[in-house]
């Protein structure tokens, strides 16, 4: 066995590979075994290593997308809002004692129609990023979002949400003021809307914090954005018990736009300018604007379409199971 072939393997693979190597070496030392046995075992070992190497190559690709999705130079929610809507006016506060700056809410004009907008705000520059919790929201942020959902519902405005968050803020004060309940309530409110809801995943779609604002009739995802049940780092430290397995976790979680389209969780991939949105933010924003215009136009032409039921049916049909399904009592 040439060391060359295995030296770059992740330690979780290396352990398994070395086990097989030692087993073969031990057998070789016992006389009386014919070479045929080793050929077989060595072939299997070579296949195993090749498979591990393939997994690692794929992991590098998905990790590259994770890095791109987090790139500070990518356009963020305020850039999209400024570039897409005319006369955008933002609103503040949950009316219960707090204004969470990690979520922007407001109204703007697109193609002559008033549109309600909610988006995660990561902030730019270290000072802003700290102030906005790096786009991680407190329960109050979701309660602030619920206010604009209510306005959209009562005035018949289409709702557009921009998703870009590492996840809901895991802090003591967030838990004490009901983080879990705020996320659940936000999902519940989005299911209650009669108006169309359109979601654009522009960067990181981190877990419950992203889902809370992402219940869309139509969900678009930028090519290099991600959407995942847990961060690859979190997944690696729980399932691999080793944070260095984050790249492997990013592959296993199937969190890229291509994976999600295949799984039927999103409706459209928006392709990015060459090399990623950060290379040409202006162009990126124009592309998103044209898609948003089209879908809003399409939806406003659908008279009598039941957007609420459409959303419920869409989400309630997600899931892959086996065995007995609908057995009645």
């Amino acid at each position: 066995m040439e060391v060359e072939k295995i030296k770059n393997l992740h330690k979780s693979f290396l352990k398994d590979t070395l086990k097989s190597v030692f087993k073969i070496e031990k057998l070789k030392r016992i006389t009386g075994f014919s070479g045929v046995h080793f050929n077989d075992a060595e072939k299997k070992l070579a296949e195993k290593i090749e498979n591990y190497r393939k997994v690692e190559r794929e992991a590098i690709k998905s990790w590259r997308i994770v890095e791109l999705s987090r790139d500070e130079k990518r356009p963020h929610t305020p850039d999209y809002i400024n570039g897409i809507f005319d006369d955008f006016i933002s609103f503040s506060g949950d009316r219960q004692g707090y204004d969470d700056k990690s979520i922007i809410t407001g109204l703007g004009i697109l193609d002559g129609s008033t549109v309600a907008v909610i988006g995660h705000n990561k902030g730019s520059g270290i000072k802003e990023r700290i102030e906005y919790n790096f786009g991680s929201s407190m329960p109050q942020g979701y309660r602030k979002a619920a206010r604009i959902m209510d306005i959209a519902q009562r005035f018949g405005f289409c709702l557009v949400t921009f998703i870009d968050t590492p996840g809901a803020y895991p802090a003591l004060e967030a838990e004490d003021s009901g983080q879990a309940g705020a996320i659940a309530r936000s999902i519940y409110e989005m299911f209650s809307l009669d108006v169309p809801t359109i979601t654009v995943l522009i960067g990181e779609g981190g877990s419950g914090g992203a889902l809370a604002l992402a219940i869309g009739n139509f969900i678009m995802m930028l090519e290099n954005s991600t959407y995942s049940v847990i961060s690859p780092e979190g997944c690696a430290s729980i399932l691999w018990r080793d944070s260095s397995a984050a790249k492997l976790a990013s592959r296993a979680l199937k969190l890229t736009s291509r994976d999600l389209l295949k799984l039927g969780v999103i409706d459209k991939i928006i392709y990015e300018p060459m090399g990623g949105a950060q290379n040409n933010p202006g162009r990126m924003i124009k592309i998103v604007k044209s898609y948003l215009k089209n879908i809003i136009k399409k939806y406003s032409n659908l008279k009598d379409f039941d957007f609420k039921t459409h959303r419920a049916q869409k989400y309630e049909s997600i899931g892959i199971t086996a065995g007995s399904v609908q057995q009645k009592l």
């Binding site: 879990a180 519940y188 889902l211 997944c235 296993a252 959303r311 989400y315 997600i318 086996a322 007995s324």
Partner: protein, 263 residues
Amino acid sequence: MEKIICKKCGKNISEEDFIGNLKVCVHCGFHDMLSAHERIKITADPGSFTELAKDMHSVDFLKFQDLKPYSERIEEAIQKSGINEAVVAGEAAIKGIMASICVMDFNFMGGSMGSVVGEKIKITADNSIEKNLPLLIFCASGGARMQEGIISLMQMAKTVSCIKRLKQEGLAYFCIITHPTTGGVSASFATVADIIITEPGALFCFAGPRVVEQTIKKEVPADFGLAERNLKNGLVDMIVKRHDMRDVLGKLLFMFTNKNLNP
């Protein structure tokens, strides 16, 4: 006679006393975990439980492999817990009142929610709507099942949507939080209940204490996310001891389904 050591106070209890006391420590009142079927046995009227979708099981559709393949983990969980998935669903009578019921089991992959848990909650909610029954869910879960990736995250939306339909039909939904209930389950169907009841000492939060400590780089208080703190913060309605649970549920079910209304 087997001796049980209480996980909280460390004192010895005879197995007989422990089981007889519904797995609550006779010394310190610590409520140990129950399996789904143990829970049903002490909650439902004897012989009244009928199971729904018992054979439904998980599929490793992502071919997810961490240190072990997901398919292997499913097999092990079935062997270890004796049930096919992390939730047992069906209907039962409590103090003579019929209700749909879901009971999560932490022994099955930490009670994690994947496609099967989502689908079973949907089936149970639909059963409630069809037969005009209230719904009870006993939660015990570490959150969404990572091995099903984004599809497990979507179960949060799916279950909330089902509960919303049920509530709009004018049906009652109570959630009983048992130790521990965190992550994707606490941030979906658990917290949109009409009434949230918790067992004493149960952990009920979104991010667990270790995750929070890593983020804020500070120790969290000893009562972080526990029933008593949640009650003080207004996040749950009441703490009910295991011995009293059946009585309280019976009374609530009676009041919520009482047709004898004053004008």
